[in-house]
């Protein structure tokens, strides 16, 4: 999958002084599979970047292209199809259903895609250290635990590009490393790539490419 930014400038970031290396100024074109780090300090537009590429925000000038197609020409139905088959995301606010159990949150996604079987999902839970939380309501989990549920959920579908908005912000370095290894492994299994936004930490990982805001 090809992702390209041409003169993209979100309205809220217009007044800002951006570096010449910023994607908001210089643009970029990336061909996935690639593992990309998007490093920036707070307020530079990391979440805006993820929301824009995922089709949730349209308040920008310029053109974003997915596979050479301007994304503002995509219909809601096109987006829904993309989100099942090619695009996955972990949002900063996680977007879980607090009344549903951990398991229900995961099954809700998997029954749509049929991407993993139950034992595969269970082993992911165990790997990330929340195997015992399966039946617990998501709303009662700590933020770090919820973050891991959201990470697993994002992997329960095929994808060419996984967008992650500070997915480890509530995890310690050890758990973040385990989670990132899992993500990298699943990304390779899918033959896809990811963009990981971070406040400066590399999480001990070597990336193919780095973008700046």
């Amino acid at each position: 999958m090809k992702l390209e930014f041409k003169n993209v400038m979100p309205f809220p970031l217009k007044e800002y002084q951006h570096d010449n290396s910023s994607v908001w100024k210089s643009g970029f074109s990336l061909e996935f599979p690639k593992k990309v780090l998007l490093n920036a300090s707070s307020g530079k537009g990391k979440s805006t970047f993820v929301s824009t590429v995922y089709g949730l925000r349209k308040d920008y000038t310029g053109t974003v292209l997915l596979d050479d197609k301007p994304i503002d020409t995509l219909s809601i139905h096109d987006w829904i199809e993309l989100r099942r088959t090619k695009l996955s995301a972990i949002f900063q606010d996680l977007q879980l259903f607090p009344e549903l159990s951990v398991w229900e949150n995961l099954i809700l996604k998997n029954q749509l895609t049929n991407h993993k079987n139950e034992s595969e999902i269970e082993s992911m839970l165990v790997m990330l250290g929340i195997g015992d939380k399966k039946e617990q309501k998501c709303g009662t989990l700590s933020l770090g635990q919820q973050q891991r549920v959201a990470i697993i959920r994002s992997l329960l579908q095929p994808f060419d590009l996984l967008l992650m908005d500070e997915p480890f912000s509530h995890l310690d370095e050890g758990n973040a490393k385990i989670a990132l290894d899992l993500i990298a492994k699943e990304t390779d299994l899918n033959g896809g790539g990811f963009v990981l936004t971070s406040l400066g930490s590399y999480h001990g990982f070597t990336y193919d490419h780095e973008l700046k805001l």
Binding site: F91, Q95, L100, T113
Partner: protein, 396 residues
């Protein structure tokens, strides 16, 4: 699981109000519709004989008439003006026998001996909606006759007693033959007649028009030129105009003949007003339900947005809502039909029977069809509203 997410804490007071409103509205609508149709189906026996909107009109006999100063005849001009009235759909002057008629029993047929002077009148066959052979030709065995029902009353409860005669049942009178004496234009003859029916509405002795035309041709004295009674058929619910016409032309009408139509109209108007109110209640409750689903949608807006982000289609979300609302409104529809049916059978029919009113009862199919139509209207309006809202949430 979609249902669990989307209908989170939606069974609240709002839901109860919306459901109760829809149930009341739909029940009122169905009930008034059913009652209107029942009233429309109400007939007295007499009406079936001559049609519900047919009446006999004649001019009032006054003091001036008695001394020959004016006439009760309808001139051709009068008849034309009746035909010109917008609310009158059919005008049929009575044809009268232009000869003397006498009547007596046929010996051996079971009637006591009697003789009476009589007259014959005829109206066109299209008004004679009775299940007997009303056709007559020269080869017919007998002349069919329709008598006023009061006639047999007078004989049985007045005449027979004072003359020491046996009383005669309707069946006996209809089974026995009668001897008819005809005298006119210098000729006399006897014929056989038979009573084939009785009428409340027409106080006359009726024979087939064909017979009267034939007999007038042979025995007619040439005295009668214009008719004095006219049979008219009016449009539905036009008794008001008929009333005005009576004053205008100084007419005499058998009031009871139009009373049924009058009462039917009044009841239909009353129930019609109730029906209009029901339609309004129904629409109001429909709005209430649309508002309720709007509330559920806005409560679930986070869930809807998130489901769309996960890749759930708009269709699957809309269908989850519609499925749930269909079940709810399906139960409401079936309940409304059941309540309507219960009220009709147990309350209305019992009351009518207690009061000696016999209504055939119209079919339930129309009412049930209207209920299904309301169900469809409800589902479609909600479907459109939900689809629009979900689409909007997807674009946001």
């Amino acid at each position: 699981m979609l249902k669990k997410i989307l209908f989170r804490d939606s069974k609240n007071l709002q839901f109860i109000f919306a459901t109760a409103g829809a149930l009341i509205g739909l029940t009122a609508l169905l009930l008034s519709l059913q009652l209107i149709m029942d009233v429309q189906s109400f007939h007295s026996n007499e009406e079936e004989l001559f049609g519900p909107n047919s009446v006999v009109i004649q001019k009032k006999v006054t003091k001036l008439t008695s001394i020959g100063m004016n006439s009760t005849e309808f001139s051709p001009k009068d008849i034309q003006s009746l035909k010109d009235k917008e609310f009158i759909t059919d005008v049929a002057p009575f044809k009268s026998a232009d000869f003397k008629v006498g009547i007596s029993e046929v010996e051996g047929d079971g009637l006591p001996h009697f003789y009476a002077d009589m007259f014959f009148q005829a109206i066109p066959n299209r008004f004679m909606d009775i299940n007997v052979d009303w056709d007559w030709n020269e080869n017919s065995e007998f002349i069919p006759i329709v008598l006023p029902r009061d006639f047999i009353m007078i004989i049985n409860y007045g005449f027979a007693q004072s003359q020491g005669m046996n009383q005669i049942s309707e069946e006996l009178l209809m089974a026995a033959r009668l001897t008819i004496y005809v005298d006119g234009n210098g000729k006399k003859t006897q014929m056989i007649g038979r009573v084939v029916g009785f009428s409340h509405k027409i106080s006359s002795i009726l024979v087939p028009e064909a017979f009267l035309t034939h007999a007038n041709g042979i025995y007619g004295n040439g005295q009668i030129k214009n008719p004095s009674r006219i049979f008219i058929t009016t449009k539905d619910d036009s008794y008001g105009e008929l009333d005005d016409l009576m004053d205008e032309m100084n007419l005499d009408i058998n009031k009871s003949a139009i009373d049924v139509a009058k009462i039917k109209t009044i009841i239909a108007v009353v129930i019609g007003i109730f029906g209009i109110a029901s339609v309004l209640i129904m629409l109001l409750s429909l709005l209430g339900f649309v508002q309720y689903s709007q509330l559920v949608l806005s409560k679930a807006s986070y869930e809807i947005k998130t489901l769309l982000r996960l890749g759930y289609s708009i269709k699957s979300i809309v269908n989850t809502f519609i499925k749930q609302l269909s079940i709810t409104f399906g139960i409401i529809t079936v309940s409304a039909i059941a309540i309507m049916f219960f009220v009709k059978i147990v309350v209305v029919n019992t009351w009518l029977e207690d009061n000696g009113i016999n209504i055939e009862g119209s079919s339930l199919i129309t009412t049930i069809a209207v209920a299904i139509l309301c169900f469809g209207l409800f589902i479609v309006s909600n479907y459109l509203n939900i689809k629009k809202t979900v689409n909007k949430l997807g674009d946001a």
